[in-house]
Amino acid sequence: MDLTWSPAEQEFRADVAGWLQANVPSEPLPSGDTAAGFALHLEWERKLFDARWAVVSWPEEYGGRSASLWEWLIFEEEYYRAGAPQRVTQNGIFLLAPTIFEFGTPEQQDRYLPTMASGEESWCQGWSEPDAGSDLAGIRSTATRDDAAGGWRLNGQKTWTTRGAFCTHLFGLFRTDPSAERHRGLTYFLVPLDTVGVTVRGFGRLDGDEGFAEVFFEDALVTDDLVLGGIDQGWSVAMATTGSERGLTLRSPGRFMATAERLVALYRERGPDAVDGSLRGRVAQAYIDSEAYRLQTLQTVTRVTGGDPPGVESSLTKVFWSELDVSLHEIALDLLGFEAELESPWMKGFEFALSGPIYAGTNEIQRNVIAERVLGLPRK
C-alpha cells in the first residue's frame, strides 16, 4: 500500500490547479439546466477543450491527454475543489464516449468524439420512456427497417431526458425486433435531434429548471452509420454505459469531498454555539463517509489499473454516493435552521441531490442487483 502521489502526479495536480485558478469564473454561472445557462456552460466547455482539460483521460487525437485513471481522479478533485462549473457535456463524455470507444467504428469515433469533447455537439440520453423507467427492458419505441430510404424509421417517445431541450444529439435504445424477448431485439442509435420527425419538448424538474425533455419520434429516418454496436445488440452495448454511469466516471470522489469541505466550512461559520449539538456528529459522519468513498475509489482504481475491470460493484457505489449526497445537503439545511428555506446553493443542491437515488437506475433496482449479482440471492 502506497498512499502517496508520484512527483509526476503532483506536477499534474499543480498544472490543473493553476489553470483552474486562473480560469474558473469568479461568479458561478447560472444553472446549466436552463437554456441561457446551458449556452454559457458550453462556452466554458470550449475553454476547457481549448486548453485540453475537457477530456483528460482521452487520447490526444480526440482532445485529451491520455491521462491515467489516477490523474483523472486528481483532475476531478481539483475541479470540484475550485468550484468550477457543472459539466453539461457529461452525458456525452462520461456515458456515451466510453461506449463509442468500445463499440464504435473508427469512422464513428472520428466523427463524434472531437465535437462531443469541444461541446460543439451535445448529447442527451434517450433511455427512459413513459412506461419504461426502472423496467428499462420494457422499451417500446421502435426502429423499423426502411430499405427504400436506406435506414431505420424511429417511432415512439422518450422522456425525463436530461437537458434534452438544449442538446443537439440523443443516444438511445429502440426496439428493432418486436418479436424478441425483452432484453433482446434492442438497438443503440445515435440520433441528431434536428432529424425530420423528431420533436423535443422541455419541461420542468423538481427544482424548477427546464432540465427535462420529452422527445417524440414520428417516422424519423436514421441511416445505418448511426447504429452503435450492431443491430439487436443494444442491451449489451447499453450496459457498458450503465457501469460508467453508476460507478467510477460519473461521480468521482472529488465532488463529495468538495461538498463535505463546504459543509465543514458552514459548520465553522455558524459556530458550535449556534447549532444543535447533535449536528456535530452528523457532520463528522458525513465527512467520514466522503473519506470512505474516496478511499474505496482508490481501492477500485488500484484493482482496475491491475487489469481487473469494474463490474457489478458499481451498484454498491451508486447507492452509497447518491445517499451520501442527499445526506450532506440535509445536514447543511439543518445547520441553516430557519434560513434553510431561503434560496441558496444548499437548497438547490439538495433538490438536485434528491435525483441521485432515482436516476441511473433507482437505488431499489441497485439493491436488487447487489442482492442477486454480488450476494448471490435468487432472482425468484
Binding site: 456535530r280 457532520v283 467520514i288 482508490l298 447507492v319 439493491r367 436488487n368 447487489i370 450476494l375
Partner: protein, 327 residues
C-alpha cells in the same frame, strides 16, 4: 498510489483463515461460553487455536525481530484481525497481538509464542483471569502481572469474553504516555478489523440461510424485503473496509492523522456491525433468535466490540474535534 495488499500480506491472511477454519469452528466458540476460561482450548488456558497461532508466529507479529517477534506492522496484521473477527475467535487476540505483546515482551519473552498471554482493557479487561499479564489503560494505566492480581469479575453479553476489573496487583508498573496512546489506537484498529470480519460473517451466514429457507413456496432470499436489507449491509461493509485498511497504513507509517483515521474506522465498523447484526437477526427470524443457533455468538461479540474502547459516537466526536474545531 496503490491501495491494496501485497501477495505476502494476502497469503498470511489466507493461512490464518485456514488455521481458524480448522481450530476455531463455531463449536469452539460455543464451547468457550461454558468452559472454565472462555477460550478456545477448553479448560486449559491457551488452547488449540491460541497455540496454533503462536506456532505460526502470529502472536508476536508486532514484536520486533530483535525481541524474537516477526517485526511486522499494523498493515501486515490488520487482515489477520479481520479473520479472527470472522471466526469470532474466543481469545484475547487484539489485546495480545496489537496491544500487550509489544509492551510486555522485554519482561515476558513467552508472549511471542503465546505461552504467556497478555490481555488489555479500558477499564473492563476481557479474559483477564486466565491471562498472565494484564494491561489496564484506564484508570491509572498500568501493566501488571496477572497471576498475582486481584480481579472483580463482571459478566459480558458475550459469554466467551470473561470480563474483570483489575483491583490490585503486587507487581505492576505505570504505562508511559506514549505507550498508552500507541496501545489505545492499535487496539482500536484491531477491534475495527474484527468488527469488519464479524459483519462479513453475519452477512454470509444470512445469505446462506435465506437461500435455503423457503416460505410461500420460495426461498425467502428472493423477496425484495430481504434483499434490500442485506444489500444495505453489503454497501456498509464496502465503505467501512477501506477506512480500516487506511487506518492500518497510517499507524504503520506513523502518520500525524493516524489516531483520527482509527477513529473513522472504529466509528464506521461499529455502526456497520450493529446494522449487520440487526439485519441478520431479522432476516433469520425465529431461528436466529434461538439460543442453540450460532448467529447470536457473532451478534454478541459485535455488540461488545462496538462499544469497547470508545463507541461510534465517541469516535465521531474525535473526528469532529479534528475537522470542525478551529485550531
Amino acid at each position: 498510489m496503490e491501495f491494496g495488499f501485497t501477495e505476502d500480506q494476502l497469503a498470511f491472511r489466507d493461512a490464518v483463515r485456514d488455521l481458524l477454519a480448522k481450530e476455531c469452528p463455531p463449536s469452539v466458540v460455543r464451547a468457550a461460553w461454558t468452559n472454565a476460561d472462555g477460550r478456545s482450548g477448553g479448560a486449559t488456558s491457551g488452547g488449540g487455536a491460541w497455540h496454533a497461532l503462536g506456532a505460526m508466529g502470529v502472536l508476536g507479529a508486532l514484536v520486533p525481530e530483535s525481541a524474537g517477534g516477526l517485526g511486522l506492522s499494523e498493515l501486515d496484521v490488520v487482515l489477520l484481525a479481520e479473520e479472527t473477527g470472522r471466526a469470532a475467535l474466543p481469545e484475547p487476540f487484539v489485546e495480545h497481538v496489537f496491544v500487550g505483546a509489544p509492551l510486555a515482551v522485554d519482561d515476558h519473552p513467552g508472549v511471542v509464542t503465546g505461552d504467556v498471554t497478555v490481555t488489555a482493557g479500558d477499564p473492563l479487561i476481557p479474559w483477564a483471569v486466565s491471562a498472565d499479564v494484564v494491561v489496564r489503560l484506564d484508570p491509572d494505566p498500568v501493566i501488571a502481572l496477572g497471576t498475582d492480581a486481584k480481579f472483580d469479575a463482571v459478566s459480558s453479553v458475550d459469554g466467551a469474553r470473561r470480563l474483570a476489573r483489575l483491583v490490585d496487583a503486587t507487581e505492576s508498573r505505570p504505562l508511559t504516555r506514549e505507550e498508552l496512546s500507541g496501545a489505545f489506537w492499535r487496539g482500536n484498529l484491531g477491534y475495527a478489523a474484527q468488527l469488519l470480519g464479524l459483519s462479513r460473517q453475519m452477512l454470509d451466514l444470512t445469505v446462506g440461510y435465506t437461500v435455503d429457507r423457503k416460505q410461500f413456496g420460495a426461498a425467502i432470499g428472493s423477496f425484495q424485503a430481504i434483499k434490500h436489507q442485506l444489500a444495505n449491509v453489503r454497501v456498509g461493509i464496502e465503505f467501512a473496509a477501506p477506512l480500516v485498511y487506511r487506518a492500518a497504513h497510517s499507524l504503520a507509517a506513523d502518520a500525524p492523522d493516524a489516531a483520527v483515521h482509527v477513529s473513522m474506522a472504529k466509528a464506521q465498523t461499529a455502526d456497520v456491525a450493529k446494522l449487520a447484526a440487526r439485519a441478520a437477526l431479522q432476516c433469520h427470524g425465529a431461528i436466529g433468535y434461538s439460543y442453540e443457533y450460532d448467529l447470536h455468538l457473532w451478534m454478541k461479540r459485535a455488540w461488545a466490540l462496538a462499544g469497547a474502547w470508545g463507541d461510534a459516537a465517541w469516535h465521531r466526536e474525535r473526528v469532529a474535534r479534528a475537522i470542525l474545531d478551529v485550531k
